[in-house]
């Protein structure tokens, strides 16, 4: 009983860390670029695939993949921003959403063509195999690792954005890009870097997800829709808010899986409806 509960809560915590990583990336991209990046899920999927392909074709192990896959996918992001997204600044938000939606279809279709629907499995790295037998549950080391590292990356991102000079530029650009440009900061480059960074976060989550979930082309699209709901619930106004909301909703989802599994797929959307009723601007949001 308690074992099943804590198992679901752990899985919820893992999902929550992915929600946090992804919604964090979405929030900073939206803040500076004014683009709702629908492709975030596809890029998460590409991160997982990059890790799997690295292992399969080049013999690159998990630890290098953790570094290289986000770099590779981040580079794809930089190209996308330079070649495509850049042309849409100054237009209505919806075009950015539609463009990245199209890119999602392209990426998913391509991976689906080459790898089909069935998932590829990715082994848990040797050093993280096994688990602890706690008095109330069995804790696989890898899962504990995922939660720990995700939290660490979230905290590091928060630190960079809130406490460093680069983060100050980012926040200034979010408030008023033209004024920032007038102060001599190269805003276009800042945008490219920001998009690349947000995308790399998604790919990083993808690599960490690879040993837990099957690596398959559609793994990102259902996730990104949940992450959008998380963003609606939390509001994109605050970095810490995104992280707290993401993890909290992961836990709520895990709890639902234990109490009433049938509702676990829709619980986040139900919470979203409730938040819209009670606090339309979102838990941490300012309407912009």
């Amino acid at each position: 009983m308690i074992q099943a509960l804590s198992g679901q809560l752990l899985l919820g915590l893992i999902n929550g860390s992915f929600y946090a990583l992804l919604s964090l990336g979405l929030a900073i991209i939206f803040g500076l670029l004014n683009v709702v990046n629908f492709a975030h899920g596809a890029l998460y999927m590409m991160g997982a695939f990059a890790a799997w392909m690295g292992l399969e074709f080049l013999g690159i192990g998990y630890w290098w993949a953790l570094l290289l896959a986000p770099l590779a996918v981040g580079l794809v992001g930089v190209l996308v921003e330079r070649l495509l997204l850049r042309r849409l600044y100054g237009l209505d938000h919806l075009y950015g959403l539609l463009l990245t939606f199209g890119l999602t279809l392209i990426a998913e279709g391509l991976f689906h063509h080459f790898y089909g629907n069935s998932g590829q499995s990715y082994p848990v790295p040797g050093a993280l195999q096994g688990g602890f037998r706690l008095p109330f549950m069995y804790l696989p080391i890898y899962r504990a690792w995922v939660v720990g590292v995700s939290l660490l990356v979230c905290l590091a991102s928060w630190f960079v954005i809130e406490k460093t000079k680069l983060g100050a530029y980012l926040r200034a650009g979010t408030e008023n890009p033209r004024l920032l440009q007038a102060f001599g900061v190269n805003v276009p480059v800042l945008r490219t870097v920001t998009y690349g960074f947000g995308v790399a976060l998604a790919a990083f989550a993808g690599v960490m997800a690879a040993p837990i979930y099957q690596v398959q082309p559609l793994m990102g699209s259902s996730l990104v829709i949940v992450v959008f709901a998380v963003v609606v619930i939390g509001g994109m106004g605050s970095i810490a808010g995104s992280i707290v909301t993401g993890i909290g909703l992961g836990l709520v989802e895990g709890l639902t899986k234990f109490v009433y599994p049938e509702a676990s797929a829709v619980i986040v959307f139900m919470v979203m409806a409730l938040v819209l009723l009670v606090r339309p601007a979102g838990l941490f949001g300012r309407e912009r």
Binding site: L88, H93, L105, I225, A229, F269, A273, L277
Partner: protein, 315 residues
């Protein structure tokens, strides 16, 4: 011509003639599919093109109406018209519920909220006992129109769908060109201003949303009767994206654009039916190209061309 009939009126007349002749020119089921999706896209355009609200979850209304109609016709054995009306009513009610919540946020959040609600409907359809899960509802009977004309024949079915399409299309057209439509236009251009002029913006948005959802439901109900099945793909987010593409490609904020877009997209999908995953890739590529280079769409570009060529003549 003495009263200066506009090119648009001629366009409508030509299209009506085409609509009447279509089942003799192309495969009727193809034509009916185009009509259903054209109605779906026109309903969607009322929201995106004329109110400036991007709903990314319109498949919820199309799909749920398809399932309700299918269930009513197949299991309850209701007459076709009643089943279609029931499906439309269900989508309208769902539209009132989702719309009422979604309009509490604006801009980009609105798109995310509608997408989330549609995903909720998708999961419900997967899990509910009467929707047939992965298989969907199959073998929906077409029944008889007005309890007289059997709809099994392709021609009777076609004209039944055409009549419903024209009714829905006329309603959208009326809504756009009514005072109500002008208020929607004002909201799209400048919401704060419309609000300060004393319009109850939230109520107008909600009404537009409900009409749009109801007509999308009508399209879904008809589609279920025509194809005799309702499937998960009708509630999937790909379907929500498809209707955005049709509207964008045809020209958002134009009366005829969505129908043109539906024709183009359905034709494209028909041609590519054997191409498997490439359909998704090509759809995505069309999306990207339309957003980057073709934002006015076919009808929008044609209108601009006409204006340029015949300076001063308003199409």
């Amino acid at each position: 011509m003495s009263r200066g009939r506009s090119p648009a009126a001629w366009g409508y007349a030509a299209l009506l003639a085409l609509g009447l002749a279509a089942p003799f020119l192309v495969y009727p089921v193809f034509a009916m599919n185009v009509l259903c999706l054209a109605l779906f896209a026109s309903a969607f355009n009322l929201l995106l093109g004329y109110t400036g609200l991007l709903s990314f979850g319109h498949a919820a209304f199309l799909g749920s109406a398809a399932y309700v109609t299918g269930h009513a016709a197949k299991v309850w054995g209701l007459p076709t018209e009643v089943a279609v009306l029931l499906g439309t009513a269900a989508a309208t009610a769902l539209g009132a519920l989702f719309g009422g919540l979604a309009i509490r946020r604006s801009g980009i959040y609105f798109a995310m909220i509608t997408l989330g609600f549609a995903q909720m409907i998708y999961f419900l359809v997967v899990q509910l006992p009467w929707t047939g899960g992965e298989d969907g509802l199959q073998g929906i009977p077409r029944g008889k129109a007005l309890a007289l004309l059997p709809l099994d024949g392709p021609l009777t079915m076609y004209y039944f769908v055409l009549a419903a399409f024209l009714g829905g299309f006329w309603l959208v057209h009326r809504a756009i060109h009514s005072p109500f439509g002008h208020v929607l236009h004002a909201i799209r251009e400048n919401e704060a201003r419309a609000l300060s002029l004393g319009y109850d913006v939230a109520r107008y948005k909600l009404l537009a949303f409900v009409i749009s959802a109801g007509l999308a439901g009508l399209a879904g109900s008809l589609k279920a009767v025509v194809l005799q099945f309702a499937s998960l793909s009708d509630v999937h987010w790909h379907r929500s994206g498809e209707v955005v593409l049709m509207t964008l490609l045809g020209g958002m904020g134009t009366v005829l654009g969505p129908s043109v877009g539906a024709l183009v997209v359905v034709t494209l999908e028909n041609y590519l039916a054997g191409a498997g995953s490439w359909v998704t890739v090509i759809t995505g590529a069309v999306f990207v190209v339309s957003v980057l280079a073709f934002r006015r769409g076919v009808v929008g570009e044609a209108g601009a061309f006409l204006r340029k060529s015949f300076g001063g003549v308003k199409p």
